[in-house]
Amino acid sequence: MSTNKKEKPLKKDENTHSESEDPYKTLINNMLDGVFQTDLEGNYTLVNKSYAEIYGYEPEEMYQLNTNYTWVSQDEKELVFKELRKRDIKNILKRYRRKDGSIGWLALSIRTKSDLDGKPIGFEGVARDATERKTAEIAQKEASERAEFLIDIMVHDLNNINQGMMLTLELVARDPDLPLKHKKPIELAIAQLQRSTELIRNAKRLQTVIEQTIKLDRKDVFNEVTKAAELTRSVFLKKKLELKTNFGRGETYLVADEFLTDLFFNLFHNSMKFDKNRLVKIEVNTDISDNNRIKITVTDYGSGIPDDEKMRVLLRKRGGKGSGMGLTLVKYLVERYNGTISLQDRVQGHFNHGTIVVMTFPRG
């Protein structure tokens, strides 16, 4: 330890040593992380400066303290020590009480200290103040919960408002005395309501996907494509979806999650929506790409996407034009599964002959 008489003693009841005599003690005393030891009853037997500073004490003050004062919750303490009987504990976050009575968060690693015969004689560990980090985490969690709550309210209320408008407009449209010149505007209004519904659904779905913890599993692509096709058919009752694939059940797998169906559903939905024909053909093909990834293409024969729109439709930014958000959700999901996505013309140079969505994924 330091020979400077103004330096605080490192260890309880121990004589000071010069730095050259005990570089180990100097190292511990100068560490930025807090270091401590206690006896089995929780009385401090060793603290360094950093540890004392975390709590707002001088080191010698801590030797008068028992750790009971610094634990905020007895339940928390019992849980930790119960676990400590089985193993060393690394990097847990726990609350602690400072000298001024305020509460903070501590990142703590602690182990049981034993004598040469293996008999427990106390505890020792390393600690660091984690209050700022934990406060930021809590704030973020609360902000996220608030956002989710507000979105839920909006989705519910907007859906109710749209419901009222939808049925009203439909009833008006069915009035046999309605002049012909009013039918078209009403049909346009209904179409706008359907767009609004789709946007609300996709925004909510995207929020759900973002909030959900990612848990990836092996998924049979054929099953997901089939489910997505059925869902699409149930939405477009006046159209017929003809789906072709070059693979069958059990042949192609991806590492994905429950939202893989959403990925294909949104692609099929787009194809159905923008194809003027009653019979809509979509092909889903799989292949192995040059760099040994799975390549999945979804091809339609619809009105296509102009070149300057191809990037924009995949990325909907705040304030940007565009609607639906379906392809934004697709792109988000592709990236969630460590994939890539791009759009091509089905017939090169002729965007209005249909689109190929090209995706590659790691092999599942």
């Binding site: 519910h156 109710n160 419901q163 049925l167 009203t168 439909e170 009833l171 309501l193 609300i200 009752l237």
Partner: protein, 123 residues
């Protein structure tokens, strides 16, 4: 003619559904919340109940649970509607769930298709 109860805390949706269903010659009653619905169900026989999920105090899930747990009404047809679609009643046991679902906003055609299909199946 079949007797239908429409339960929704939005008066406009109640009235619009009533107009649509009465045009198909159904007899329609309405309720604005879960308590009102349960009071009507206790006194009357309904062949089918259209049930909104999100309502104050007693929500649609609780109403459905009570319908299924009452001997007299346990086989009453129930169509649940909400903005959440089929996933809306995952917290109900299998024998407490609705018979079908309508995602809001539904159009006239979807409403009639679901109602007609269920009532036809039940005859």
């Amino acid at each position: 003619m079949p007797n239908i109860l429409v339960v929704d805390d939005e008066k406009d949706i109640q009235n619009l559904a009533k107009v649509i269903l009465e045009a198909e010659s159904y007899e329609v009653s309405t309720a604005s919340n879960g308590e009102e619905a349960l009071a009507l169900i206790e006194k009357n026989h309904f062949d089918l109940i259209l049930l909104d999920v999100v309502m104050q105090h007693t929500d649609g899930l609780e109403v459905c649970r009570k319908i299924r747990r009452t001997k007299r009404t346990k086989n009453t047809l129930v169509i649940m509607f909400s903005g959440l679609g089929k996933g809306v009643d995952t917290m109900l046991d299998e024998n407490e769930k609705a018979d079908d679902y309508l995602e809001k906003p539904f159009d006239r055609k979807s409403l009639l298709e679901k109602v007609n299909a269920l009532l036809k199946k039940n005859r």
